[in-house]
């Protein structure tokens, strides 16, 4: 079969575009990277809630079916409203991403499409299942039997998680490419299942799935904690807090373990990324673990950090004398921007630890008193940490993606070689940024309106009778 290097025929100098004057400030490559970062950073917030919120509403509805306590039914319905708004924005921003893969990175997709497409294909089906049963769940409260309705919710939760796992598997492939043989610039002997189950797959999907439950659970817990602070006995918010804390708390406590495992996989498969995360410039034995600090790429040191001698060697290789690869192992031009990566990594770890701490607190109080923790101190702490999960997710993705630079496929294709030759991408960057800021504000406003008001007593009474449950 004749290969057609059509796209290679375009030898466009980016500075020659009709909008070149802006190109002086924002190169096409930078514009494409920023647009991708904004699109992913925006979509991930909705995707994460789309994974975890359905689980919480299915749990609430299961309690309604078992106890017939009408508050649980109202809770499931309220959470479902939030899920519907967030799913809608998640679906369209996800559609944008599937096109952007080609609109911004056509050379990447031409190479990677056949290798990783299977993952996207399976994800398409998972997403399909999610969309179908979301329609049944949201519009079917009174049209399908109660058990079928609950089952629809459970399917949404399951397919949401599956779809997240599949997409993250594709990202894992970009970090640890497998399942093909590189001949020149072409991939041969393509093995899509092996590509999908690459070395980083378990670590990344586990870490991200737990992150989704931790971030969403504690975010929702924070919202109900705010409302409980002024209305301590409210049965609606007490039950909501209990479910949200259970989902978010368990995930938050497990997350440091999965993070440790993920870091060991990074150490093994992407040592340069690990060096950037830790601000490790020199290749050395007994490498210290740095807490905080600001790397100085020119001087080649990380300043102001609290250093635990041998800590990094132990964490990465379980051996204080293990050698840790530093950034000095590769030429300066090929190093990722260490400052952003180290700081993002520190932010992610700090957020994660704070969340785990509050979750342990909740568990301890619940264990000793046998009730939902509702002390003022605890509720305030829950409110304070509630946005940290989302912050940690953004910071974590910054580590993963920026930490892979200058590669789009680690060691195989450079980001600069993947970008589209279409000129003037800064226009597109500007338009999409504006659009997403606008949408973000609207969603925040709508959700605030949905969740500000607690259900009225008559609403609860109405929901307890089958005729009034409409």
């Amino acid at each position: 079969m004749k290969s057609m290097p059509l796209l290679h025929k375009i030898n466009l100098d980016l500075k020659d575009g009709p909008l070149s004057f802006i190109g002086v400030f924002v190169s096409n490559l930078l514009a494409a990277r920023l647009q991708m970062a904004i699109s992913l950073g925006f979509h991930i917030l909705f995707a994460v809630v789309g994974i975890a919120l359905p689980l919480m509403m299915a749990v609430a509805e299961a309690f309604w079916l078992r106890t017939r306590d009408p508050v649980y039914r109202i809770l499931a319905r309220r959470w479902a409203r939030g899920a519907a708004i967030l799913f809608a924005v998640g679906a369209v921003s996800g559609t944008v991403l599937s096109f952007e893969l080609g609109l911004l990175w056509p050379h990447f997709m031409k190479f990677a499409g056949p290798i990783i497409g299977l993952g996207f294909g399976l994800e398409g089906f998972a997403f399909f299942t999610e969309a179908i049963f979301l329609g049944i769940y949201i519009y079917g409260w009174d049209r399908v039997p109660p058990l079928a309705h609950w089952l629809a919710g459970a399917i949404i939760a399951l397919s949401g998680a599956l779809s997240g796992i599949l997409v993250v598997s594709v990202n894992a492939w970009m970090n640890t490419p497998a399942g093909f043989v590189l001949q020149g610039s072409k991939a041969t002997s393509i093995d899509p299942p092996r590509a999908l189950l690459g070395p980083a797959m378990i670590a990344e999907t586990l870490h991200m799935t737990l992150a989704a439950y931790a971030a969403t659970g504690l975010l929702v817990a924070g919202i109900h904690a705010v409302l409980l602070l002024n209305d301590r006995a409210n049965p609606f918010h007490r039950r909501a807090l209990a479910i949200a804390l259970a989902v978010g708390g368990v995930a938050s406590v497990l997350q440091p373990l999965s993070g440790h495992y993920a870091a060991q996989v990074v150490a093994r498969t992407q040592p340069v990324k690990l060096a950037a995360m830790e601000g490790q410039f020199r290749t050395e034995r007994r490498a210290p673990l740095r807490i905080g600090g600001l790397p100085d790429p020119v001087a080649g040191t990380t300043r102001y950090a609290l250093e635990i001698p041998g800590g990094l060697s132990v964490l990465a290789y379980n051996d204080p004398n293990a050698e840790v690869v530093g950034l000095d192992a590769i030429p300066t031009a090929d190093r990722p921007p260490v400052r952003i990566i180290h700081v993002s990594f520190q932010v992610m770890v700090a957020c994660g630890l704070a969340m785990a701490l509050v979750s342990f607190w909740a568990a301890a109080v619940a264990w000793r008193s046998g009730r939902v923790p509702d002390g003022s101190m605890f509720l305030s702490a829950t409110v304070l940490i509630s946005p940290l999960g989302m912050l940690a997710i953004e910071a974590g993705w910054t580590v993963t993606e920026v930490g892979r630079q200058p590669w789009i496929i680690q060691g195989v294709m450079r980001t600069a070689d993947a970008v589209t030759p279409v000129p003037g991408l800064w226009v597109s960057l500007l338009v999409y940024s504006t659009l997403y800021v606008f949408l973000g504000l609207v969603v925040a406003l709508l959700l605030a309106r949905q969740f500000r008001a607690s259900p009225r007593p008559d609403e609860i009474v109405a929901a307890s009778t089958p005729e009034g449950a409409h």
């Binding site: 025929k9 375009i10 924005v89 369209v92 599937s98 096109f99 089906f125 399909f128 179908i132 049944i136």
Partner: protein
Amino acid sequence: MSSPIISVSPAEAVAVVMLLALVIYALFGGADYGAGVWDLLARGPRATAQRELIAHAIGPVWEANHVWLIIVIVLLFTGFPSAFSAIMTTLHVPLSLMLIGIVLRGSAFTFRSYDNSEVGKRRWNRVFSIPSVVTPMLLGAVIGAIATGQPGRALDSGLPVPLFATWLRPFPLVVGLFALNIFAFLAAVYLTLETPDPELQADFRLRALVAAVVLGGVAWAVYFLARSEAPQVFQGLSDSPWGRPVRYGTGAFAVVTLAALSLRWFRLARVTAMVQVALILWGCALAQYPLLVPPDIAIGNSAAPPVVQTLLLIALGAGSVILLPSMYYLFHVFKGHTFQLSRVSTDDPR
């Protein structure tokens, strides 16, 4: 790889599935765009009732209908990566604009259900309905532009990628109008079956009839412009052995749809309208076969290795086992009434 009886390569089978997904997207997702058109054009004493009927009709199936587009894209970049990157490069501008439309209407459609203020509802309605008109025109323009061969030639020329010259031309724009008209026509036909109210039904019957007649005119315009602008498609439709039957078949179904609408046989009209639209798309695709992006990129020379195509087909088969029953259940629950309604209304002497 290919059986001796029906010689279809895995790549061709994937291409057929891709076309099938595109046709289903047009029949279902397309009608959601069309419903947005009628939302924008809602007039007269029943304007509010029309809008409510539209929102009620598309709400439950909205998200599912949208996924077909993603399936098309995933099949394209997995099965035919160089066709995908060629399209995404040479039609960057209309595709980006189309996506903005998809984002706006997709968000606004949900926002308006959850915005309790009257002003808010009306505002979201606008943000839903205006992009519902613009987005399908851009989708049609992209498909029309590909058929002209301009995007393919722009790549071959080796010159900088043009932003507008590939698609801002008469033929793609008329195809854009054609797509919009098709979607509006389908939506109006479907909506006749969504209401027991005879007046609302009459509103949408009239809209369906008008859209059907206009569609005939636009179809001729596309056909004649194709002679010079998309000669490959024109020759396929006019000269090939299957061209005539496809054209006559499409025409016949169009006539039956018109007659059925006139006689208020709405259930029949729905079936024939769907067949008519499917025939249009199959005809255009057949005319371009085996090219994906004329003049050079074809199914054969852009296909991913056979192992990828075979795995895709297995995944599609396995996925369908879950997808089809789920889809049936969704439509059974929320569209079951449209199968009873027509019986009532045809029995109803008026």
